[in-house]
């Protein structure tokens, strides 16, 4: 029988929550945005150093639940060094998996596949997407000003 611990809180997820990658701030970000969910109090800031179209560096800060922090942490690893177009594509795949519109494939999602169980907990999907929302807004943001957007 599957349990919440297996579905949502796999070791990899809890490990990323405990020690999030690229946590902190950039000295001179070219793009940044903030994702907030006022209902649950989650609040994540994502900063980017874009070189042309490529994510040369990324940091995130803020607070959130284990799903939110782990998802954002894995996101930073997944998008570092990638072009904006590839990042957008990955976001779309991840989102489609979480909302049950696509089957998870390790080939596409890498470590993020460990979060695919979130699709069985609809109230938690917004947790897993908050950092990604901020990332998408950061990519759209006219540099170098910060944009602020609450997650829907």
């Amino acid at each position: 029988m599957s349990t919440v611990a297996d579905d949502l809180y796999q070791d990899l997820v809890v490990e990323h929550k405990r020690a999030p990658r690229h946590f902190g701030t950039l000295a001179a970000p070219t793009h940044q945005a903030r994702g907030r969910n006022p209902q649950c109090g989650d609040d994540v800031q994502v900063q980017l150093q874009l070189e042309g179209d490529v994510v040369r560096d990324i940091r995130f800060s803020g607070q959130g639940c284990a799903i939110c922090i782990a998802s954002t942490s894995m996101m930073t690893e997944a998008v570092l060094g990638r072009e904006a177009g590839v990042v957008r594509e990955l976001q779309q795949h991840f989102r489609a998996v979480l909302t049950g519109q696509e089957q998870p494939q390790e080939a596409t999602l890498g470590k993020l596949v460990s979060l695919s169980g979130v699709s069985r907990y609809p109230s938690r999907i917004k947790c897993a997407l908050l950092g990604w929302h901020a990332l998408m807004h950061a990519l759209q943001a006219p540099e170098p000003h910060a944009s602020e957007e609450a997650a829907r």
């Binding site: 349990t3 919440v4 611990a5 949502l8 809180y9 809890v14 929550k17 006022p38 209902q39 649950c40 109090g41 989650d42 607070q63 959130g64 639940c65 284990a66 799903i67 939110c68 907990y121 109230s123 938690r124 947790c127």
Partner: protein, 413 residues
């Protein structure tokens, strides 16, 4: 006092609670958000809808007369329930939020005789309020040019009467306070706070939503001009509530809902308003809701308010003791003895993760900001996990909560 309220007959009164969730028996501990409705309340509403459904006040036919009588009987029952006297009136609203909006709007809108609130007036609210007793006052202040002052709690979340005195002056027009903070469970000394504000000449507003399920404030003993509460937080239906208060105070409110039944006389270009309570009850009311809300008051009376209050306080004390003993866990307002709410934060576990892991064990709790963001920011705790108790909860469920939280802390470590 054990679980003396959990007699078999009582359990059978709440069909919604006798179900499994994720393979476990449901432990419904989200009563501060909404309570479940006992059979007698559901029966009363069904009986009204089946036998007496008709619009009130307008018809001369039998069903309309029955409906009108049921509505007015519900009003009388609820007035008695909250200790209203001859100088008080009760108007039905859609709930606490509408009742508080009605007061804040009614004092700041120009209406026909100009607004009660004027530039230079002060409105005093407390930082314990949920958004429904804060945001309407923010807007009322902006609309009227009044100043909004906030009575803040100490770092333990307690309000002190000494701190209110410096905020009061002859310019204080309104003082609004909660009977129980929904985010922390703190039960402020609202009687003394309102007395001091009333002495300074302020109109006093009590948000009684969280108190009604166990500690009903008695109007006749309170220096209270307006009191707001909801049906669904006192074992009654959703979508119905009440504003009860002193007649002269209610008469100063500009109506929020203009239309049928609240007017006395209407010409093409102007209208005069009806007397209370119709004046503040424009449109067709939720008559079945009023009937159900009154049935809920009768149900609580039959069990005994003191027994209910003692039971939920014992459950809260049990939960505070058990949760406080868990590593890295902090209970907010631990000393709020007269409360049915226990709210807590864990150093290493976010409330949403706790809430999901508890749900797996059939335990329903609330997680998040509880519509009280400014308070939680002031206390420096962020979102919390909240368990809240009602007359049907048991000490066994409290044990399951403590075990569930301990397990969740282990998973998320």
């Amino acid at each position: 006092m054990g679980d003396m309220l959990q007699a078999a007959t009582l359990a059978a009164d709440f069909p919604g609670l006798a179900q499994g969730v994720n393979g476990e028996p449901l432990a419904y501990l989200d009563n501060a958000a909404t309570t479940h409705m006992p059979r007698p309340v559901q029966d009363a509403m069904r009986a009204f809808e089946t036998r007496s459904r008709a619009n009130i006040h307008r018809g001369v036919h039998t069903l309309s007369q029955r409906s009108t009588e049921a509505f007015e009987q519900a009003r009388a029952t609820l007035k008695r329930f909250v200790g209203a006297g001859a100088q008080h009136e009760l108007v039905f609203t859609s709930g606490t939020t509408e009742a508080l909006n009605l007061v804040a709007h009614g004092l700041s809108d120009a209406g026909q005789d100009g607004p009660v609130l004027q530039p230079g007036d002060d409105i005093v609210v407390t930082a314990l309020e949920h958004h429904a007793n804060l945001v309407p006052w923010q807007l009322a202040a902006r609309r009227s040019g009044a100043r909004l002052l906030v009575l803040r709690p100490d770092r333990q979340g307690r309000l002190h009467i000494d701190e209110l005195a410096p905020l009061l002056s002859p310019r204080t027009r309104v003082f609004a306070v909660t009977a129980c903070a929904n985010a922390t469970g703190e039960r402020p000394p609202y009687e003394a706070l309102m007395a001091l504000a009333a002495e300074a000449g302020a109109l006093t507003v009590l948000d009684a939503a969280q108190a009604m399920a166990h500690e009903v404030p008695l109007l006749s003993q309170l220096p209270c001009d307006f009191m707001a509460f909801s049906g669904h937080k006192m074992y009654g239906p959703m979508g119905i509530g009440a504003l009860v208060g002193r007649r002269p105070a209610l008469e100063r409110l500009t109506p929020l809902r203009l239309g049928g039944d609240m007017v006395e006389w209407v010409s093409e270009t102007s209208a005069s308003f009806a007397a209370l309570p119709a004046r503040l009850e424009g449109g067709t009311p939720h008559v079945a809701g009023a009937v159900g809300m009154a049935a809920a008051a009768d149900y609580m009376d039959a069990i005994g308010l003191e027994a209910i209050d003692a039971h939920v306080r014992a459950l809260r004390a049990h939960a505070v003791a058990g949760l406080s003993a868990l590593p890295g866990l902090t209970v907010l307002s631990p000393d709020a003895g007269r409360s049915a709410i226990v709210s807590f934060v864990a150093a290493a576990a976010h409330p949403h993760d706790l809430g999901t892991l508890l749900d797996e064990r059939g335990i329903a709790v609330r997680t998040g900001n509880h519509c009280a963001q400014p308070l939680l920011e002031w206390l420096g705790v962020g979102p919390t996990t909240r368990a809240s108790f009602a007359l049907y909860n048991t000490h066994d469920e409290v044990e399951r909560l403590i075990d569930g939280v301990a397990f969740a802390l282990e998973v998320l470590k």
